[in-house]
């Protein structure tokens, strides 16, 4: 008699062990074929098992997916990625100094958001996850605005109602970030359905991590997208880790995340997420497909979460410290930089100068942002504003509660003044 036993997935290495990415098959750059944008999902199933890669180990762009971008565009991309990284580092430090309550870095994954935002049209609607800050940077949201949100200060776009990093930008066509994972995935499909109902040529794109692909929202998104052939790009950013759970806990041991697409009749494309050119090319392919009534595409970006999940996380408790150094797909910024140098369009000197310039920019932005207040120092938002925007028009019960709080604050203020006068 055989007794049933659970298969409990184990990551290849835990703290103190040697990093091991042998589970990851990495085909050479340039090998994947680039099919017609209207090819059927089943015809191109192999795109979900291989990996679209353009930059080879010498930093050369090779193969049919090479997007042939102008060097100027690549220089802009490098700037966006570097700015994202500098911004992340500054905000992490500010959290450590107690100036903001929380932060989440995107280190090692910058190519995903930056390449995709650059490959899409400004009118396309983006439904971000919490680790795609590069979208805001590419679309031109000022760092001061992002910092003010993290500070919950008087210029906070969310008026003090959301934790740091839960940005949104209506004018920039970037939706609000939710702390509830994957909810934005089917919402993006609904947005894209509306675009199709209205007969527009705008498309939607959304991002989740591989861990969140286990949520029912993932299934809802793919089902609705497939049924209505919605013009949407659904991105799973497989950064190997969902806090302490490695990608096997989302089902990554059995199939790639891209392979789930063809099960729904949606093309699944697996791409080297640290290869700016490959991500850009795949996104443009999916966008062309969506705009040509070819329907949705599921893209899996293979990357690595180099930083902690958040400032509240300590990855040394669950994975080897050296994993990032051992990550076989490298650092997206270094790879694009080397490519540009190889083209004769960049140099170490220019790179150092850019780093310095961006660092100064981030510093200046921070200095400005804190003039609008921090969590501990004024100016501060008026607490009674918390009752606004629950509804379009404030109902009676909220007006009453607002008056109650107003009275309470006035009493506290009077008591504090009296104490100071006595003091």
């Amino acid at each position: 008699m055989t007794q049933s036993r659970l298969h409990v997935p184990h990551p290849p290495a835990r703290p103190g062990e040697k990093p091991d990415f042998s589970y990851l098959e990495i085909p050479p750059a340039g090998r994947a074929a680039r099919p017609d944008t209207l090819a059927s999902a089943l015809e191109i199933e192999q795109l979900g098992t291989g990996m679209v890669r353009v930059l080879d180990e010498h930093g050369q762009a090779v193969g049919p997916w090479n997007p042939h971008l102008e060097p100027e565009e690549l220089q802009v991309a490098l700037r966006h990625m570097l700015l994202t990284r500098r911004f992340d580092e500054r905000m992490q430090r500010m959290q450590r100094q107690g100036r903001i309550s929380f932060y989440m870095k995107s280190t090692g994954e910058e190519a995903v958001a930056v390449a995709q935002a650059m490959a899409l049209q400004p009118g396309d609607m983006l439904f971000p996850s919490y680790r795609t800050q590069g979208l805001f940077i590419v679309r031109g949201k000022s760092l001061v605005d992002l910092m003010c949100q993290c500070l919950s200060n008087t210029r906070d776009m969310c008026r003090g109602r959301q934790m740091p990093i839960m940005y949104h930008w209506a004018e920039g066509n970037i939706f609000s970030i939710s702390g509830n994972l994957a909810t934005q995935f089917p919402q993006a499909v609904g947005w894209a359905m509306a675009a199709a109902i209205k007969g527009e040529d705008r498309i939607a794109s959304s991002w989740i991590g591989e861990g969140a692909s286990a949520e029912a929202d993932f299934h809802h998104a793919l089902t609705f997208a497939a049924v209505y052939q919605a013009p949407v790009i659904l991105n799973v950013v497989n950064n190997q880790w969902a806090i302490s759970s490695f990608q096997g806990f989302a089902g990554g041991e059995r199939r790639t995340f891209a392979q789930r697409g063809p099960g729904y009749g949606i093309p699944g494309v697996r791409v080297d997420g640290n290869d700016f050119l490959a991500v850009h090319a795949v996104t443009r392919w999916a966008a062309e497909r969506a705009r040509a009534r070819g329907g949705p595409t599921l893209i899996e970006h293979v990357t690595y979460r180099a930083a902690a999940h958040s400032t509240s996380d300590d990855p040394s408790r669950y994975r080897p410290k050296e994993e990032w150094q051992a990550w076989p797909l490298g650092d997206p910024i270094t790879r694009l930089k080397e490519h540009l140098i190889g083209l004769g369009e960049w140099s170490e000197e220019r790179h150092a100068a850019l780093e310095k310039e961006l660092e100064a920019h981030v510093t200046a932005c921070w200095k400005e942002a804190i003039t609008y207040g921090t969590l501990s120092e004024g100016p501060t938002l008026d607490p009674v504003s918390m009752f606004e925007d629950v509804f379009h028009e404030m109902p009676q019960h909220l007006k009453r509660q607002r008056e109650e709080l107003r009275r309470l604050l006035a009493e506290q203020h009077a008591a504090a003044q009296a104490a100071a006068a006595e003091g």
Partner: protein, 338 residues
């Protein structure tokens, strides 16, 4: 004026809004070609086409999520959840997303979604086709919650819900889709044509959200109720022969505290009736509000008559349902207290 039952009145509201506002889209399970399992969307897809009236996959979470995305993209989605009992897979999208989108983005994004869903028992539906989960949603900040008790209100309130800038959960008491029900399952069914509120204008009209209605004026006691129970309460009042004021709450959020409490301050006695379970039910909110606002006018403890705190049992439906006898007993109770 036309004679309409509640199904026809809801259909008419959707028809009017689809015709008036190109942003309105109607969708849900079996809603399109077939016209809905309760026929509320009958003929609408034929009239407005497949891009305005859509069938959806059986995925309530997906339906509400898609509605949110459509709302963000400028449409006015009216999503049907086939039974209120099936709404729970959409709970996260309703509570964490739909209800709070305006708040969390400081007004930069919103989704004016209306969720229509049939609720309530008395149809031999057992525990998966009989629930009244309104109290689950009244507890969520940012949602408006509505339940009409007759065809005229159903149409006017549904039009208001669709025109409203906020998300609305619109409960349709399915026991009274075809006629008012006084709580006696053994009597022959009565059609809406016998009831004044079965007279429904064919065109556009709106009943404001947030307004209760005094269904029966009276001076001796106040009955606060909504949905199917409005008609059951009327039967109970006839049974007891007391001059009770019956108030149809109609909108749970926002609540018309003035109308409710003016009545209780006048009568000094209050019975709260709903079909939903009692513990932490919406009646508890009504009771607390009445106590806070009317305490010095009260002549008797407030009484609640509700479904028992059990799942809705299939075989014991009429023992479970808070019928006229239980309401009558509560009425007598508040009248006798002194």
């Amino acid at each position: 004026m036309a004679q309409m039952n509640m199904v026809q009145a809801i259909n008419s509201a959707l028809d009017v809004m689809l015709g008036r506002d190109p942003r309105v889209v109607v969708f849900g399970e079996d809603v399109g070609y077939f016209g809905g399992v309760f026929r509320c969307t009958d003929g609408l897809q034929r009239k407005y086409g497949e891009h305005r009236v859509l069938d959806t996959p059986i995925a309530e979470g997906g339906i509400v999520a898609a509605a949110i995305g459509m709302g963000v993209n400028g449409l006015r989605p009216v999503a049907e959840i086939q039974f209120a009992d099936y709404i729970y897979p959409a709970f996260d999208q309703i509570v964490s997303e739909l209800a709070r989108l305006r708040y969390r983005t400081a007004g930069d994004f919103c989704a004016p979604v209306t969720i229509r869903t049939p609720c309530g028992g008395g149809i031999r539906g057992g525990q998966t086709h009989s629930q009244s989960p309104e109290g689950v949603f009244t507890h969520v900040c940012g949602l408006k919650v509505v339940m009409p008790s007759n065809p005229y209100d159903a149409k006017g309130l549904l039009i208001s819900s669709i025109e409203n800038e906020d998300p609305v959960v619109f409960f349709e008491p399915k026991r009274i889709y075809n006629g008012p029900f006084d709580g006696d399952p053994h009597k022959p069914a009565v059609p809406w044509s016998t009831h004044p509120k079965g007279e429904v204008p064919e065109g556009h009209y709106a009943i404001p959200i947030g307004k209760a209605e005094i269904v029966r004026p009276g001076k001796d006691a106040t009955l606060l109720t909504y949905g199917t129970m409005v008609h059951v309460a009327e039967a109970a009042v006839r049974l007891v022969g007391v001059d009770a004021e019956i108030i149809d709450v109609r909108t749970m959020v926002p609540l018309d505290v003035d109308t409710l409490c003016t009545s209780v301050c006048k009568t000094g006695r209050c019975v709260i009736v709903h079909e939903a379970t009692r513990f932490s039910g919406f009646g508890a909110e009504l009771s607390a509000t009445v106590q806070e606002e009317c305490f010095w006018h009260l002549e008797a403890p407030i009484q609640r008559v509700t479904g028992w705190d059990t799942p809705y049992p299939h075989a014991f439906e009429w023992d479970y349902f808070p019928g006229p006898a239980r309401i009558a007993a509560a009425l007598r109770g508040v009248m006798e207290a002194r």
